[in-house]
Symmetry: C2
């Protein structure tokens, strides 16, 4: 993956969080693919499938005055052909989340086809860092 390609993916990812911060539903709608099946998993929600339901969920969130902005950080990009994955942290009203955003190259632009965000523990509670094998601290998935 070229640096230039990586930058175009990161710009699409930034546009997503900017649309969220600006409560810009039209831009948000444009960022999501119209050509491919899409899905979205908001933290603590069941998965949502299909453009109509996904866009409706964003309409609700962007139109909710109680919804704070998301600050995105530590973006990492994986690109394989016409698909790109951005993994990043999200800071939402003091809560730390981790997100996977999946983009598809369509007509020369990166369009979102999936988003999943879920809670991440604060640094003080994370225990072993990700650079160490988890075997030594006997963590489980429940």
């Amino acid at each position: 993956m070229s640096d230039e390609e990586r930058q175009t993916v990161l710009e699409a990812n930034r546009a997503f969080y900017r649309a969220f911060a600006q409560r810009d539903l039209a831009t948000m709608e444009g960022l999501w693919s119209r050509q491919s099946p899409i899905a979205c998993i908001h933290p603590g929600w069941p998965p949502i499938f299909g453009r109509e339901a996904v866009i409706a969920s964003w309409r609700g969130l962007l139109g909710n005055p109680a919804q704070g902005a998301i600050v995105c950080s530590e973006e990492r990009v994986l690109v394989n052909g016409t698909t790109a994955i951005v993994i990043c942290n999200e800071s939402v009203v003091g809560a730390l989340m981790v997100a996977t955003n999946i983009f598809l190259r369509e007509d020369g632009a990166w369009r979102m086809i999936h988003h999943q965000a879920g809670p991440m523990p604060p640094a003080s509670e994370r225990g072993k860092s990700s650079s160490q094998p988890a075997g030594s601290d006997k963590r489980t998935l429940h």
Copy 2:
């Protein structure tokens, strides 16, 4: 996407959960791509990047006697060219999770390049179903 293609993706996804249930690290290692960058987000963990760290995390989980099996259900498949996304529920020792598994077609086989799992509320606490817009219940992402 043909039904046959969808079935090959679902079979790769089942192999992942079977390797987990059988604590079969060799199969788990073989399911993850060796050709492409990979990442993994276990529920409540910071993201893990790179094959060495991702496999180490599975080694720790599969080798932990306290780790219960995961039962996968409600698989949904999105395929775009050589990339496939499976979104499914995971039942882990009574806790309900929702996961995104991303596969890449390599040398004729689907190999995992990313996994994110996060908590899903029980059905009784989910409020509006995903078929209804979220706007009406004023939910937020925090």
